[in-house]
Symmetry: C2
């Protein structure tokens, strides 16, 4: 197995790379080679694995080189995030649409010269869904809910879903698009994503820092953990076409949870002093983006693949704390819990 991961230095991409290298196989085949592309090099121990090659630079600038190799599998995670795409329309088009199109065309060119179509997992997003005029947003969006995205990010993800489906129909790739739920708790610093606070309101107080929640406590949202999300991407990669039941994108499983419930879980897991570090201060820009996001999601097709959501938000927080302990990061002031 010769595998490409785009966006492999990002949080999810890096975790996917580590998980696949630890696993050592994909679809029952040994993982012999993993090429990881991203704007910057990953800062993780796995990059020194002999199977790994890291390429840095914009994905668009790497397409020609990537097209010269034969791939058994591709995980296409590279993406500009929602806040960036709203602020810079050209950046979103270039990073999310043009890059995907060019990557697909490079893979197609190989197949048209006799190559085997690679398995291709596209990381789409729950942000494809939104309300639009007569199209109401159901309380829970399903695999087959009509997507009418209300951000450029969601629009670009949806467009790529359809490109992946059509390139698959034509036999240029064996593609599948999985809609990621909001991944929480992300480690590190806040990023440009409008959803960044869904991690921040847990991560910052655990690290003895204040955190501002820019939306009301009643806001509900479909979330999942990093581990569940990586497991989902790998399972979708390994699924047969029969198991996938269609070329359309599928939702990954979500825990549908209100901000208030997230903070109650934080109190239970880490104590009221930690919870007290979160205060509410409405940010109209963020709130208006989030208001057009679904309050929940279902994932019937993913469930049939055996994928599940976290049982509750306590589990989400505990998994984050365990991750911090495992990698020795300073993300959690563990001694301070329940202080």
């Amino acid at each position: 197995m010769n595998v490409l991961i785009t966006g492999g230095a990002g949080f999810l991409g890096s975790r996917l790379a580590r998980t696949l290298l630890d696993r050592g196989t994909l679809c029952g085949q040994p993982l012999t080679r993993m090429v990881v592309t991203d704007l910057v090099a990953p800062s993780a121990p796995w990059q020194s694995d002999v199977r790994v090659q890291v390429l840095t630079g914009s994905l668009l600038s790497q397409i020609e080189a990537l097209g010269e190799r034969a791939w058994d599998g591709v995980f296409h995670l590279a993406s500009a995030v929602s806040g960036e795409c709203e602020a810079d329309f050209d950046l979103g088009l270039r990073s999310n649409l043009d890059s995907t199109r060019s990557l697909l065309d490079a893979l197609r060119a190989r197949v048209q010269h006799g190559g085997t179509p690679p398995r291709f997992v596209f990381a789409s997003s729950v942000a494809v869904f939104g309300p639009d005029g007569d199209v109401a947003l159901p309380a829970v969006v399903a695999d087959d809910t009509l997507p009418t995205p209300q951000t450029s990010y969601g629009t670009q993800k949806l467009i790529c879903e359809h490109l992946v489906a059509d390139y698959t129909r034509k036999g240029y790739i064996d593609g599948r698009a999985a809609r990621l739920m909001t991944v929480t708790v992300r480690p590190g610093r806040p990023n440009g994503a409008a959803s960044s606070f869904f991690s921040g309101i847990i991560r910052e107080p655990l690290a003895r820092q204040e955190s501002i929640c820019p939306v009301d406590a009643s806001v509900s949202h479909p979330v999942s953990t990093p581990a569940h999300t990586i497991q989902g991407l790998i399972r979708v990669f390994e699924a047969s076409r029969d198991e996938l039941r269609g070329r359309a994108a599928l939702n990954l499983p979500a825990l549908n949870v209100r901000v208030a419930d997230m903070l109650d879980a934080l109190t239970r897991v880490a104590g009221p002093a930690v919870r007290a570090r979160v205060r509410f201060e409405r940010d109209e820009r963020i709130a208006s983006i989030v208001a057009n996001w679904p309050s929940g999601a279902s994932a019937a097709r993913a469930a049939r693949l055996g994928l599940t959501a976290p049982a509750d938000f306590d589990e989400v927080i505990r998994q984050y704390i365990a991750d911090c302990e495992a990698d020795g990061s300073a993300g959690v002031a563990l001694a301070g819990l329940h202080a």
Copy 2:
């Protein structure tokens, strides 16, 4: 009003141009200038109207020149047809996706330099709908039916619908996407569209020629007339944002009719001898494309704009005959009707 029509030498584009010039106004404003682009020059009397300028060549090659002008309105009809796009994947991407994207970006550039966003009507298609795995195709597709296209043509039209919606949301255009039903009866010769026979089985026998129907008589399909379709495009152009009720694409009204019903209408309108010139000879390539098309469509949003479908297929045939008589074409061997 300074109006651009892309694909203006095509059957619909030319009829739209003629209708607008005859009308003389759009949104209550006088039509002062009409630029028509297409691969070839239109062969119609209206092109000598002093208000008209014709530009020939690929749309992509004209984008730079088009972007240097201010437009009050754009009707974007230029497109490769479904059969062509299945046969030549690159042609479809270039003609239907890249051209639309470039046109939208040229309009956006003007707005970003202080211009007013033009009204923009995108001619989408009922071909955006199709069955996919768990996503069944309902007997009648509605405005809000989930599109999972099963052709590259349908995929590209759907992608452009979403680009138009997002450029509209950002204020770069005042866009609206109308899904055209299969237009019948088209004059002239069969074209590369898989739907070409829906006109051929009426047009050819009326012109004393044999015609082959490549699908079963039981096949049902949503159709409309040229006049209804042009009326729909103009009404969608003139609609206010409130009237449109959302940025998502809307279906134009359709008469949902079986091939058998079309041929019965032909017998009633033109006699059994004309009907006898149609024979059935299944074409697997065409039949397999059409099998994934909807058997009917509804158009609730268009109905609220006052738009209607033809009452029956007899009306569709009579309108075609009247059109042929009006322009003195040899499309109908009129003396031969009921012979």
